[in-house]
Amino acid sequence: MGVAPVLLVEKLSFAYAGDGAALEGVGFSMAPGERVALLGANGAGKSTLLWCLVGILAGRGKIEVAGTVLAANTKAEVRKNLALAFSEPDDQLFMPTLAKDLAFGPRAEGDSPEEALRKARAAAAQVGLAEELLPRAPHELSSGEKRRAALAAILTSQPKVLALDEPTNSLDAPGRAVLAETLEHLSCAQLIATHDVGFARTICSRALVLVRGQLVADEDIEGLLADRERLVAYGLAAPGVTRP
């Protein structure tokens, strides 16, 4: 890779208290603007990996985001550059109105109310949320709108890497199409954790596969999806089903 990676993970391991290893020696890197699918069956460690990347879970190993190595005194910098969208948007939208929610990050960073609102509007437009939705309470939005709202909320910090945890959960086919289009228009690098192989194929060119906390594949997504036996072995396809 000629360009310096925007995300570098080396020998990352993590174990929940009282449990076995949830992640073991995971390592990969991502180039700026690259879209990578993080595939794995339920419980493979995808969410744990994402929580480690933003420092909410403290793993062993090295995580470097946009040149900053994650440590106790660099968490704020890392979190500004690597934004995480949760699997449940309801967990991520906590202010009384959508406008205030989208402005929360900029206000916490010290922006004036006007500047924060400008960023909120820009982020809403970026993900295709109508201006009329801004005064609404987040819990009044539809599932698809909530998903895009949660995405807009973290885009206000203009991150260099966007990590998405199961972004297609509870979305119907049109909702998935809108989300795919939205993500394709974002210029930041994207790490998309999902067990929705079809969605991953539409927007990613590369796939990482986690199986029981270990990275077992890092390759071109089309090549991986063509190998049905491996998909079944990784828990990404059911035996007897011809297409993932």
Binding site: V54, I56, A76, R79, K80, A83, L84, F86, E88, D90, D91, Q92, F94, P96, T97, A103, F104, G105, R107, A108, E109, P113, A116, A137, H139, E140, A153, I154, S157
Partner: protein, 250 residues
């Protein structure tokens, strides 16, 4: 707007501070003026002694005037007072079994509770609760409390949603269950509901931290309180206090 809208097709709905959309004089009144009025009303209710009865009637009359000014639907108030009646009714009924002092204390508790709750209902039926919290966040010394209140309210909102969803699940899995059975099931489920709400609070907290939250809520921009609105709030508070004061000292 129903800020905490129930989705339970009319079953065991728990309305928490639900406001109704409207364009009444009370809806248009600045929230801070309403808070001033409510504060005066609550103090007056606390001041008023159990006897004589006329100050109580006057305060209830004042409350009715406020509800009429807010064009609050009687059905909404009835539903809320019905929810309160269990909390107030049981101690009141028990007090009737005691001597005169106990009976008077029971009456005092019941009437004061109804007045204070009525004032609170009138306020919240005509004001958006998040706006109220935002208003208090601008008051020095109260900002921390308002952030805490917002967090508790959000938690209550989530818990209400969980209760509503659990109740739906009950309705689907045991549609013919008697109310008693459903209530017992709901009580049993509430332990896991609390656990789920706590887990969700944890994730919400993480979301806040990830977006730069450092323990202080961003201050809300200041908005001028008009002299007219403030005068209305002060007038209502003054009338309430005059009634309470006359009842106690006249």
């Amino acid at each position: 707007m129903q800020w905490c809208r129930g989705e339970a097709d009319g079953r065991m709905l728990i309305p928490i501070a639900g406001a109704e959309k409207g364009d009444s004089p009370l809806h248009r009144l600045d929230d801070r003026a309403k808070l001033v009025a409510l504060t005066g009303f609550v103090v007056a209710a606390m001041l008023t002694p159990t006897r004589p009865v006329w100050p109580w009637l006057a305060l209830f009359g004042l409350l009715l005037v406020a509800l009429a000014a807010g064009r609050v639907k009687p059905g909404l108030m009835a539903k809320r007072f019905l929810g309160l009646s269990l909390v107030v009714g049981v101690p009141f009924a028990v007090s009737r079994l005691g001597g005169e002092a106990t009976r008077l204390a029971g009456e005092s508790f019941a009437v004061k509770s109804l007045l204070v709750a009525g004032g609170f209902f009138a306020l919240t039926a005509t004001a958006h609760m998040p706006d109220l919290l935002e208003g208090t966040s601008r008051v020095p010394g109260l900002s921390g409390m308002s952030a805490l209140a917002a967090f508790i309210l959000r938690g209550a909102n989530m818990l209400t949603g969980e209760v509503v969803r659990t109740n739906r699940a009950w309705a689907l899995r045991a549609p013919r269950a008697r109310l008693g059975v459903r209530l017992r099931g709901l009580v049993a489920a509430s332990i896991s509901l609390l656990g789920r709400a706590a887990a969700r609070s944890d994730r919400v907290g993480a979301a806040m931290v990830l977006r730069g939250f450092d323990g202080r809520m961003p201050p809300a921009p200041a908005r001028a309180l008009s002299a007219g609105d403030l005068a209305v709030g002060l007038l209502f508070a003054a009338i309430s206090l005059a009634i309470g004061g006359l009842g106690r000292w006249a």
